[in-house]
C-alpha cells in the first residue's frame, strides 16, 4: 500500500510542469555551481603547486647569508584545498591560504580568496552545498505543502481513506514518494559530482570517499527532515494555503534567519578579540612573559647565568658554541609558549563558537547540516586550524634548523658567518598530512547529533500527524 501511494506520488510529481521546471532549475544550479567550484578549486590547486615550486626555488637560490638572516628572509607555505571543497567551500573563501614563516613571529594566514572576489560575490557564493541546504528544501516545501492539505481540499483524501487506506500508510507513502522524486532528481547530480571528484587532481586523497559518503548521508538525513516535517505539516493543517504559509515561514527561519541569528548570538556569548588587541596582548606577553612578572630580558639573563653555570664558564665567549644561536633557540622556545597560549585560546574559542553554532542546529537543522557538511568536506575551522598548526610546527623546525646551524658553526662574535644552499636544502618542503575521516567526525559530531535529533523528531511528528489525520473536523 505504501509503495503504491509512493509510486503514484512519484508519477504525479513528474507530470507536474511546475515541478519539472523547478527541478530543472535546481539541477542546472547544482551542476553549474559544481562545475564553477571545481574550476576554482582546480585553479587554486594549480596556483598553489606553482607557488610552492617557486617558493622552494627562491629559498634554495637565496644565496649565501647568515642563517639567522635567512630566518628573517622567511618563506611562504600554502594551504592545500580539500577536493570536497568543490562541493562545500565552507570557510575557505574567508580564511587565508598562505602563511609567511619567519623568525620570532607566528603569523596568521593571509590572502583570503574573498579578497579577490568582486563585491557582488560577497552577497553569497552559490555552491552545490548551498543549493542543497537552501533551494532543495524549498523545492520539498513546494512539493509537499499540498500533499495532504491539498487532497483534503480537493476531496481526494476522503476518497482515498474511504477505500480503507490507513492514514499512516498514506502519510508514509506520500513521504516515500516525495523522497523517491527527489532522489530521481538528485542522484544524477550526485553521480556527476562523483565523476568530477574521481577525475580531480587529488582523487586519491585519503578518506575522500568515506567523507563523501558521510556527506551524502548527512544531506539525505537533512532532506528527510524536510520531507517528514513538510508532509506532517500538510497532514496537520486545514488547507494547503495555511500549510504553505507555515512551511515557507519555517524555511525562512531555518535558511535565512537562523544562520545570522545564531552567529550573532554565539559571538555575543563567546567573543573573539579584535586582531589589533590580539597582536598587542601577544607581543606584550612575548616581552613580559605569560605571567607578566619576568621581563624577557630578565629571563634571558637568568638563562645566561644557568648556561654558564652548567658549562662551568664565566663568560659566554668561553662557551664551546655560539651563545647567540642558543639564545635565539631559547627565545623561540619562550615565544613559542606565548604563541601556543594565545593562538591556542583563540582557536579554542573559534572552535567553541563553531560547536555552539552547530548545537544551535537543534533549533534550525540547516545550522547542524552546515557544520557537519563543512567538517566532512574538510573546509571547516578545525581543518584550517590543522593547517595553521602544521605551518607553525614547520616554522619552528625551520627556525630551529637555522639557529642550531648558527649556534654550532658560527664563532662567537663573528657576524660575518654565512650559510648556503647545503643548509637551505636541509629544510624539508612543507607537507600537510590531511586529517582523517575520524578527525573530521570529531569536528562534525555536534552537527551530526543535532541532525539526528531532528530526524527522530520529524519522523515522530510525521507519525503523530498521521494519527491525527482527519477528513472531517469533529
Amino acid at each position: 500500500m505504501i509503495l503504491r501511494v509512493a509510486r503514484k506520488e512519484f508519477v504525479d510529481a513528474w507530470r507536474d510542469g511546475r515541478f519539472r521546471l523547478g527541478a530543472a532549475l535546481v539541477l542546472v544550479l547544482l551542476v553549474v555551481s559544481g562545475l564553477l567550484a571545481r574550476q576554482q578549486v582546480e585553479r587554486a590547486r594549480t596556483e598553489r603547486a606553482a607557488a610552492t615550486e617557486l617558493e622552494r626555488k627562491n629559498w634554495l637560490e637565496q644565496g649565501d647569508k647568515n642563517s639567522h638572516s635567512a630566518g628573517h628572509y622567511g618563506l611562504n607555505v600554502f594551504k592545500d584545498t580539500s577536493p570536497l571543497a568543490t562541493f562545500d567551500r565552507g570557510i575557505e573563501p574567508f580564511v587565508g591560504t598562505t602563511v609567511f614563516l619567519e623568525a620570532h613571529r607566528q603569523n596568521q594566514s593571509a590572502f583570503l580568496p574573498a579578497q579577490d572576489a568582486t563585491s557582488m560575490r560577497r552577497f553569497g557564493e552559490l555552491s552545490a552545498a548551498i543549493a542543497l541546504q537552501m533551494l532543495v528544501p524549498l523545492l520539498v516545501v513546494l512539493l509537499a505543502f499540498g500533499s495532504l492539505a491539498g487532497e483534503r481540499e480537493s476531496g481526494t483524501l476522503r476518497q482515498v481513506l474511504s477505500l480503507g487506506v490507513r492514514p499512516r500508510q498514506l502519510v508514509l507513502g506520500k513521504s516515500l514518494g516525495l523522497a523517491t522524486t527527489l532522489a530521481a532528481l538528485l542522484l544524477p547530480a550526485g553521480c556527476f559530482a562523483a565523476f568530477l571528484l574521481a577525475r580531480s587532481s587529488s582523487a586519491d586523497a585519503s578518506g575522500m570517499w568515506t567523507r563523501a559518503a558521510l556527506l551524502a548521508a548527512c544531506y539525505a538525513a537533512y532532506l528527510a527532515v524536510f520531507i517528514a516535517g513538510s508532509v506532517g505539516v500538510s497532514a496537520s493543517t486545514r488547507n494547503a494555503r495555511t500549510a504553505l504559509t507555515i512551511l515557507l515561514s519555517l524555511w525562512a527561519l531555518n535558511c535565512i534567519v537562523a544562520p545570522r541569528l545564531a552567529s550573532d548570538v554565539v559571538h555575543g556569548f563567546l567573543p573573539t578579540p579584535k586582531l589589533a588587541e590580539f597582536d598587542f596582548e601577544m607581543q606584550k606577553d612575548v616581552q613580559e612573559g605569560l605571567d607578566g612578572h619576568d621581563a624577557r630580558s630578565k629571563r634571558l639573563e637568568e638563562f645566561t647565568r644557568s648556561t654558564l653555570a652548567e658549562h662551568g664558564k664565566s663568560s659566554v665567549d668561553q662557551l664551546p658554541f655560539n651563545f647567540q644561536g642558543l639564545v635565539m633557540l631559547e627565545s623561540e622556545r619562550m615565544a613559542g609558549e606565548v604563541f601556543d597560549h594565545h593562538f591556542g585560546n583563540l582557536w579554542d574559542r573559534i572552535q567553541a563558537q563553531d560547536s555552539a553554532v552547530a548545537w544551535c542546529g537543534l533549533a534550525a537543522p540547516m545550522l547542524a547540516l552546515r557544520a557537519a557538511s563543512m567538517a566532512f568536506a574538510g573546509t571547516d575551522f578545525a581543518h584550517h586550524r590543522h593547517f595553521a598548526r602544521a605551518a607553525e610546527d614547520h616554522r619552528r623546525d625551520f627556525v630551529r634548523v637555522l639557529n642550531e646551524d648558527l649556534m654550532n658553526n658560527a664563532r662567537p662574535g663573528d657576524h660575518s658567518y654565512t650559510a648556503g644552499r647545503t643548509l637551505w636544502e636541509k629544510l624539508p618542503v612543507f607537507q600537510l598530512e590531511p586529517l582523517s575521516p575520524r578527525d573530521a567526525w570529531a569536528s562534525a559530531r555536534p552537527g551530526v547529533l543535532a541532525l539526528a535529533a531532528w530526524l527522530v523528531a520529524s519522523l515522530a511528528f510525521l507519525f503523530f500527524s498521521a494519527g491525527r489525520l482527519r477528513v472531517v473536523s469533529a
Binding site: 476522503r158 477505500l163 487506506v165
Partner: protein, 233 residues
C-alpha cells in the same frame, strides 16, 4: 447491509444526529431526504468512520465501523457529490490507483471494461480527468464501486448538478448495482430521483428520522407535498 442503531452525533451542544435507527438491506436503494443541516452527510460520515459517534453504532455488512473502520470501509464504496480524482491522471489511471488502494488490482483491460460498463468510453478513459465533466467523474466513481466489489454504496448528493441525461444514466447504473445485491444509501435533495430510484425513502430533520416510506407507499403520491408537510410539521 447497512445498519444504524441509535446512531448519535453531537457537535458541541448541537445534536447533528439523534439516535438514528436505519437499515438498508442488500439490493435496496434507500434515499435519505432532508434540508441542509438535517444530518444526511453526518450519517454518511459516520458510516465511513470519518466521525466518531457519541452514541449507537453503524455497521457495514456486519462490521462495526467504530470497532474496525478500515475493515468496514473495505466493504463499501463512496461517491460524493463531486467524485474527486487526480487531474494529472487519466480516468483509467485513477480507477487503477483507487481500486488498488481498495485492495483490488485489476488488469488494464478489465478496468476499461468496468469504465465502459459505467458509461465511459475508452477514448474518454484515456484522457486526463482535469477536463472531465461531473457526470464523467461520477461514472469513474461507479466503476470504482464495481471494481472493488463493494457490498454497500454510500452516495452524497450524487445527482446534484447533473444534466437530466447524465442523471438518468447514473440512476440506471445504481439500479444495476442494487440488482447485483449492493445496499445503497443515498443522501439527496433530488425528490424526483428519490421517487424514481429508491426502494425506501427516509426524511431526516434536525438529526431525527421523522418518517420512512416504501416505494409502494408513495407510488401515487406527490413526494414534494409529503416532504414539505413533514418539514413544516
Amino acid at each position: 447491509m447497512l445498519e444504524a442503531q441509535k446512531l448519535t452525533k453531537r457537535f458541541q451542544d448541537r445534536v447533528a444526529l439523534d439516535a438514528l435507527d436505519l437499515t438498508v438491506q442488500d439490493g435496496e436503494i434507500y434515499a435519505l431526504l432532508g434540508p441542509n443541516g438535517a444530518g444526511k452527510t453526518t450519517t454518511i460520515n459516520l458510516f465511513l468512520g470519518f466521525l466518531k459517534p457519541d452514541g449507537g453504532d453503524a455497521r457495514v455488512a456486519g462490521t462495526s465501523v467504530a470497532d474496525d473502520p478500515v475493515a468496514a470501509r473495505r466493504k463499501l464504496a463512496y461517491i460524493p457529490e463531486m467524485v474527486s480524482l487526480y487531474p494529472r491522471f487519466s480516468g483509467v489511471e485513477n480507477l487503477d490507483y483507487f481500486s488498488r488502494l481498495g485492495g483490488h488490482a485489476r488488469r488494464r483491460e478489465e478496468l476499461y471494461a468496468l469504465l465502459e460498463r459505467a458509461g465511459l468510453q475508452r477514448e474518454a478513459a484515456d484522457r486526463r480527468v482535469g477536463t472531465f465533466s461531473k457526470g464523467m467523474r461520477q461514472k469513474v466513481g461507479i466503476a470504482l464501486a464495481l471494481a472493488t466489489g463493494a457490498k454497500a454504496l454510500l452516495l452524497d448528493e450524487p445527482t446534484s448538478g447533473l444534466d437530466p441525461a447524465a442523471s438518468h444514466e447514473f440512476s440506471r447504473m445504481l439500479k444495476q448495482l442494487a440488482g447485483e445485491g449492493v445496499a445503497i444509501l443515498m443522501a439527496t435533495h433530488d425528490l424526483f430521483r428519490a421517487r424514481e430510484d429508491a426502494s425506501r425513502i427516509g426524511i431526516l430533520v434536525g438529526g431525527r428520522l421523522i418518517a420512512q416510506y416504501s416505494r409502494d407507499e408513495i407510488k401515487d403520491q406527490d413526494l414534494e407535498r409529503i416532504y414539505l408537510e413533514r418539514m413544516s410539521a
